[in-house]
C-alpha cells in the first residue's frame, strides 16, 4: 500500500474521530481538531484523496475509503492502547497521557502493540485478582 507520512496518518485518524462526532466531516472540523489552518487541511486531504484513502469533492464532505478507514483504525487502536497504558496503568494525568499517546502512536508496529496489550491485560488481571499486588504496584509507581 502507498506511503503514509506521520502527518497524513494524523489526518486519517482525525477524520475517523470527526466522522463519529459529526457524521459529515468538513475541512473546518479537521482544522479545529488538529490545530492547523484550513489550507493545511485542504492540502493534506487532497493528497490523501490522490493516494486513495479518502474521497472528497470540492466544497463537499470528506469521507474515508475502505482502505482509509482501515489505516485510520490501525492508528487509533494504537492510540487507545497507549492511552490505557499511560493514563490507567501508569496513572499519568489524562492530558499528558493523551499527548504522549499521540506522539508515539505512529512508531509502534503490530507486534509491539500486541505485546503491550498483553502486558496491560496481564497487569489488570493481576490487580483484579489481588489487592496486595495492586497496592504493591501503586506504591512502586507513586514512590515520590
Amino acid at each position: 500500500m502507498a506511503a503514509l507520512t506521520e502527518g497524513l496518518q494524523d489526518y486519517l485518524e482525525a477524520i475517523l474521530l470527526c466522522s463519529a462526532e459529526h457524521k459529515f466531516v468538513r475541512t473546518k472540523h479537521l482544522a479545529e481538531k488538529l490545530g492547523v489552518k484550513s489550507p493545511s487541511v485542504n492540502a493534506a486531504v487532497k493528497e490523501l484523496a490522490r493516494l486513495g484513502f479518502v474521497e472528497h469533492e470540492s466544497y463537499g464532505y470528506i469521507e474515508l475509503t475502505a482502505e482509509g478507514r482501515r489505516q485510520a483504525e490501525s492508528v487509533y487502536s494504537k492510540h487507545r492502547i497507549l492511552y490505557r497504558f499511560f493514563a490507567k496503568t501508569l496513572s499519568l494525568p489524562n492530558d499528558l497521557a493523551e499527548d504522549t499517546a499521540c506522539g508515539i502512536e505512529h512508531h509502534l508496529d503490530e507486534l509491539t502493540l500486541k505485546k503491550i496489550t498483553r502486558l496491560l491485560d496481564f497487569l489488570e488481571r493481576k490487580m483484579k485478582q489481588s489487592e496486595e499486588f495492586t497496592s504493591e504496584l501503586r506504591k512502586a509507581l507513586d514512590n515520590d
Copy 2:
C-alpha cells in the same frame, strides 16, 4: 533553553555515542551512524553550534558543550529505558526494540520516563522474587 527539534536531538545523541566510541567525533562518523550524507551532518552541526550545544571548528572535531551533553544524555537515557522495556520486558527482537526506542524517545517527558522506570523496576523485582510470577508473565506475553 533553545528549541531542539527531534532531528537535532538525534544528532546530539549520535555525537554522544560516537564520542564514546572514537574519542574524536567527525562528520563522517555521524553520517554513518545516522544513515545520512555528510552535507546533512554539516548543516545540522552548524545549527547545533549556533544554538550552543556543540563546538566545531571547520574541518576539525565536533564536541558537545556542557549543555549539549546534558541534552544528549537526557535523550539517551530515555532510549535506554525504552530499550529495556521493549527488549527485556516485552521480549521483542533487539533490532525492533532498538528502532522503536529510537522512534519514540523524543516523545517522553521526565515524569513519564520515571513512571516507566518504576514499572520496569517493579516487574523485574517481582520476577526475581517469584518464579511463578515470571512464568505467568512470560506466558501472558507469548500467548501466540
